[in-house]
């Protein structure tokens, strides 16, 4: 009875959503899809390893920063910067998730305080650097401060922002505090990343919650709901990249460009991080991931998703090829056109994830529930 009721609700909700019915509004047949296998695969082969990788890269960055603080030189500064780039790529692989453990205790914002249209985070970071506040050089006390001063954006400013060269100058007066703050940020990131990885694992972890979806589950009543959550994450990631990180920062014209509103421009990781975002979308939602659940007559969509994203990705790779700083290349006409062009394939990818996948999978994407108000 309960299963029957669930099916009725599913059919009702799906049939009347405009995108689901045919032209005469008839009920769309809901395919019988076994969602659990793709959920197991997504959790075990995507989510858990990627959060583990984030924790691993964060630990490595702690080591690199401590090494730099112990002995300042260009080689160690470059190692810390390289470690930061690897950490950004690891983060970009899980940035799509805004549900679950990353939502607890403001962990998302602790790791990635962006967008920050007023530059509040930067002001706070600069304030901590200038004050030589000793509590900023201890990871535990730092984690008690504003979320804006303990994540990747803050660490980027310490390692790449104005005055960061002092980190390689053992005689510079500002070096010790700046390096200590950087090491504390790395420590705070590592702590948050470990918490995240741990919260996903174990018998009471979030992975178990997803794997054990069902009537008694407090969050997911079916594995279809889990798939819906994951597909939504893919869609939101594509839209975030398309609309906020690219379209908004490059502007309609060269004159409108605001490249410094994009994340990670100081480390010139803007394009690399977007590419890592997009690669993770293909991994999670493409043919090898959740796309495997698509019915045979719709499985072309997984190929289309990969095609659209590959198209955008190769354009981004092309733009970034010569390694010019993001803020310079955005204002170069040819690159601006290429970046503007990515709106087309990314729009196609978002459309597939917003309507194509949910329709084919019989998932409920409610009109009023989609993004709420």
């Amino acid at each position: 009875m309960i299963k029957q009721l669930g099916l009725v609700v599913l059919i009702v909700a799906t049939a009347c959503w405009p995108a689901h019915g045919d032209d005469e509004g008839r009920v769309t047949e809901i395919p019988a899809i076994a969602f659990r296998p793709v959920v197991v695969d997504a959790v075990e082969h995507f989510v858990l390893p990627r959060y583990a990788l984030l924790a691993e890269k964060a630990d490595a960055e702690v080591t690199a920063l401590n090494d730099l603080c112990w002995q300042a030189d260009n080689e160690r500064l470059e190692a810390a910067r390289e470690g930061f780039r690897a950490l950004v790529l690891a983060w970009s692989g899980v940035e799509m998730f805004r549900f679950g453990p990353v939502r607890d205790g403001n962990r998302f914002e602790r790791l990635f305080f962006w967008p920050d249209p007023r530059g509040r985070g930067l002001k706070q970071v600069q304030g901590l650097l200038a004050s030589r506040d000793a509590t900023a050089t201890d990871p535990d006390s730092l984690r008690g401060k504003s979320v804006a001063v303990q994540g990747l954006v803050a660490l980027e400013f310490v390692l790449f922002g104005t005055g960061s060269d002092v980190l390689a100058d053992k005689d510079a007066a500002d070096r010790s505090h700046r390096c200590g703050y950087g090491a504390a940020i790395a420590g705070a990131i590592a702590g948050t990343a470990r918490e995240l990885s741990d919260a996903w694992r174990g018998p009471t972890g979030y992975a178990a919650l997803m794997l054990e979806a069902g009537e008694e589950n407090p969050i997911y009543r079916s594995h279809g709901e889990v798939v819906q959550e994951l597909v939504k994450s893919c869609r939101e990631m594509v839209q975030m990249d398309q609309q906020l990180k690219l379209a908004f920062t490059i502007g309609e014209t060269l004159q409108d460009a605001k490249p410094k509103l994009a994340p990670f421009w100081r480390s010139n990781m803007t394009i690399a991080s977007i590419r890592a975002n997009l690669a993770s979308v293909v991994s999670l939602c493409g043919a090898e991931g959740l796309g495997a659940a698509l019915p045979k007559d719709s499985d072309w969509q997984a190929g289309s998703l990969a095609f659209e994203i590959r198209n955008a990705d190769s354009t981004l790779a092309n733009v970034a090829e010569d390694g010019a700083p993001w803020e310079d290349l955005v204002t170069e006409p040819k690159n601006h056109d290429l970046l503007a062009y990515t709106r087309i394939p990314l729009g196609g990818a978002a459309e597939l994830l917003e309507h194509g996948y949910p329709d084919a999978l019989g998932l409920i994407t409610g009109f009023n529930s989609l993004d709420g108000d």
């Binding site: 609700v9 009347c16 405009p18 007023r118 409610g366 009023n368 529930s369 709420g372 108000d373």
Partner: protein, 359 residues
């Protein structure tokens, strides 16, 4: 009494759904106004009779949200959904649009508003987004809806606001969530958000009282509200904290008192998935309903006892208005309900978040 999920669903199922139109009155008189989207593309606002029949509609440039009805029931103003940049004025007697107006530079509508007691002024919740400050824009209803001023809401993200039954006190739900139109609907301050319920003097704009929930609930965004006949504001929240937190989503406050959250069986709130999209009181003043499109449930409480009465499962439900002892309900799948009775369904139509009763 503990209610487990199985019994809860059984109870809901037992209520059943009656055949279409058994109780509806098709009298052809304007009774409700609601925004909608047709075929996933065309936005409009529709005026309905009591049976849910569309009497007339006017197209909108983008999605509408809530509607303000003038005290003489002659005028309706539909606000664009946030970040909203237009409002449409409808002559309910002439059954046509009569004007549109826009917020000034640097402001956008949040989608809600109300008329003054004498109908001469219209108030709209707005975002002064560069200053990250909530305001109520004041428009001259008798003068082409020219904007004649604004008052501070003393919080970020004012959403629903209403004029209380005394005709002098304005209640505003400051959701606390900062947004900026450059970043569309991205929430910019979840770690530090501070929602509040604020009372303002309609005559002077002065702050009368500002109510905040305990610090542990600072991520419960107060968005929607209704006033019951005993001068109590019933508010519905949207929780931005952990999904695993179990939070009472509905609360009450009477001016001068302390806010109190309303308890309900855990499964009732669990069915709302931490999200209330609309709140209203029935005409009889005996019941309050809160809807959740995210969880697909309407939850109903008794005004006098504050007890949970029932929960109804309706996929993508959000719009709700008083209708006698029960409620007139709309959902995102094109359905209209009179109480528990499905009275209309229109494939290809998605009813937007709010439906407003005329009068």
């Amino acid at each position: 009494m503990a209610i487990d999920r199985r019994n809860f669903i059984k109870a809901i199922t037992a209520l059943g759904v009656m055949p279409i139109g058994t109780l509806a009155r098709a009298d052809g008189a304007p009774a409700f106004v609601a925004a909608r989207v047709e075929r996933d593309a065309d936005c409009s606002v529709a005026v309905l009779d009591h049976a849910g029949k569309v009497l007339f509609s006017e197209s909108l440039d983008a999605r509408g949200h809530d509607i303000a009805i003038s005290p003489d029931r002659a005028t309706a103003v539909v606000f664009a959904r946030r970040p909203g940049f237009f409002a449409l004025v409808i002559d309910l007697r002439g059954r046509r649009r009569v004007a549109t107006f826009v917020p000034p530079d640097g402001r956008h509508f949040y989608g809600h508003g109300f008329f003054s007691a004498d109908g001469r002024l219209l108030y709209a919740t707005e975002n002064d987004y560069e200053a990250e400050r909530g305001v109520l824009g004041i428009y001259d209803a008798g003068g082409g809806f020219a904007r004649i001023g604004e008052i501070d809401t003393h919080g970020i993200g004012p959403h629903e606001a209403l004029l209380m039954r005394d005709g002098r006190t304005i209640a505003v739900g400051n959701g606390g969530v900062a947004t900026h139109p450059d970043y569309d609907r991205v929430k910019l301050n979840l770690p530090t958000m501070e929602p509040s319920l604020v009372y303002l003097d309609a005559a002077t704009g002065d702050l009368i009282e500002k109510i905040m929930l305990p610090a542990s609930l600072h991520q419960l965004s107060i968005r929607h509200m209704a006033e019951s006949t005993d001068r109590t504001i019933w508010f519905g929240g949207q929780y931005e904290g952990s999904e695993s937190d179990r939070v009472d989503l509905v609360g009450t406050h009477r001016p001068g008192g302390d806010p109190r959250l309303v308890t309900a069986p855990a499964l009732a709130y669990a069915g709302m998935r931490q999200y209330v999209g609309a709140v209203t009181v029935n005409d009889a003043g005996t019941r309050v309903a809160a809807t959740s499109p995210v969880g697909g449930h309407v939850v109903i409480f008794d005004v006098a006892t504050r007890n949970f009465v029932e929960s109804r499962a309706i996929a993508d439900v959000c719009g709700i208005a008083p209708d006698g002892r029960d409620f007139f309900i709309s959902d995102g799948t094109g359905r209209l309900w009179q109480g528990r009775n499905l009275i209309s369904e229109t494939p290809g139509v998605a009813w937007d978040n709010h439906v407003r009763k005329i009068g």
